[in-house]
């Protein structure tokens, strides 16, 4: 546990990498290491965070270019080994573009960039990313995105529901996401993608600590 290290991937245009590092190291005492996107050596990290930002300037589509980086190519084996991967905002977009998670993220319904706190229902704690059995089934996290509208067809939605892959739903849908979806996991539960930013909710002085649990769960086996 002492040596547990979370790799934080840095793409050109990532801008939440340092926030994630601050939250993990400063608030939780978890060691982190920045991973440049051109590296494919994931041997010395135990979990990975794909942080928010605008990888490759969001050119073509958000996450579309990042998908082809050496690091994302190496991620397949990492995920298959059962290690945990958390994609936040742009990281979620990369995970859908690269097929680790189903569906797609596209422009907000009203085209506005939304920067706000939102209330979220915890739908499933698959993978142990969220409180389970606790009375508090609603959390508040900040969102900051222009392209966070989750889209999937009804067949995919059925699969998400049947396999309990929907992790979070907006209480008041801010961006037009299909079925109010804010975050999903893969079937195994070791990959979570979400639009809200847990790393920005790790200290009472900046507005809440509802993100701590999710970041802390990176160290789960």
């Amino acid at each position: 546990m002492e040596n547990f290290t979370v790799g934080i991937v840095v793409f050109p245009g990532s801008n939440c990498d340092r926030d994630v590092s601050w939250a993990l190291e400063g608030c939780l005492g978890i060691r982190t290491k920045y991973l440049w996107h051109e590296s494919s050596d994931l041997g010395d990290v135990d979990a990975i965070v794909l942080p928010g930002g605008f990888s490759y300037g969001d050119y073509l589509r958000c996450g579309a270019i990042a998908r082809f980086s050496p690091l994302i190519n190496a991620l397949d084996e990492f995920v298959k080994s059962g290690k945990r991967v958390l994609g936040i905002c742009n990281g979620f977009q990369i995970l859908t573009e690269s097929g680790f998670l189903p569906g797609a993220l596209t422009s907000n319904k009203k085209l506005n960039f939304i920067c706000d706190d939102v209330e979220l229902d915890i739908v499933s704690s698959k993978g142990g990313w969220f409180h389970n059995g606790d009375k508090k089934q609603t959390i508040k996290l900040p969102i900051a995105h222009g392209e966070g509208r989750y889209h999937c067809d009804s067949d995919t939605f059925k699969k998400l529901v049947d396999n309990e892959l929907i992790a979070l739903r907006y209480k008041k849908n801010p961006n037009g996401s299909s079925f109010d979806i804010a975050g999903i996991t893969n079937e195994k539960g070791n990959v979570l993608g979400l639009m809200p930013h847990p790393e920005r909710a790790c200290d009472e002085t900046i507005g809440g600590t509802d993100g701590l649990f999710t970041l802390k769960s990176l160290i789960l086996k």
Binding site: L60, R61, A64, F68, T96, E97, P102, G103, A104, T106, S107, N108, K109, K110, L111, R149, H151, C152, D153, G176
Partner: protein, 84 residues
Amino acid sequence: MDQFAVKVFVRLRPSVLDPAGEATKSASIKLGAEGIKSLRIGKMIEVKIVGNGEKEVREKIDLLCDRLFANTVIEDYEYSLEKL
């Protein structure tokens, strides 16, 4: 080797909401243009590419469209190809 000019059109699938198209439709109506029933925005990508004949080039373009130019979860694509 033959050279081809390819025009790829990427469009949001009909079932996917296009807020940018809706906003542009609204502005078009404000401009005074009448009769617009629908307005949707896509992308056009121009590629110049060499290969051994049209079949090989089409295979390359199909791969590019399917894996990179379009996200087939939300987008459709088509392309035209002209031998230079």
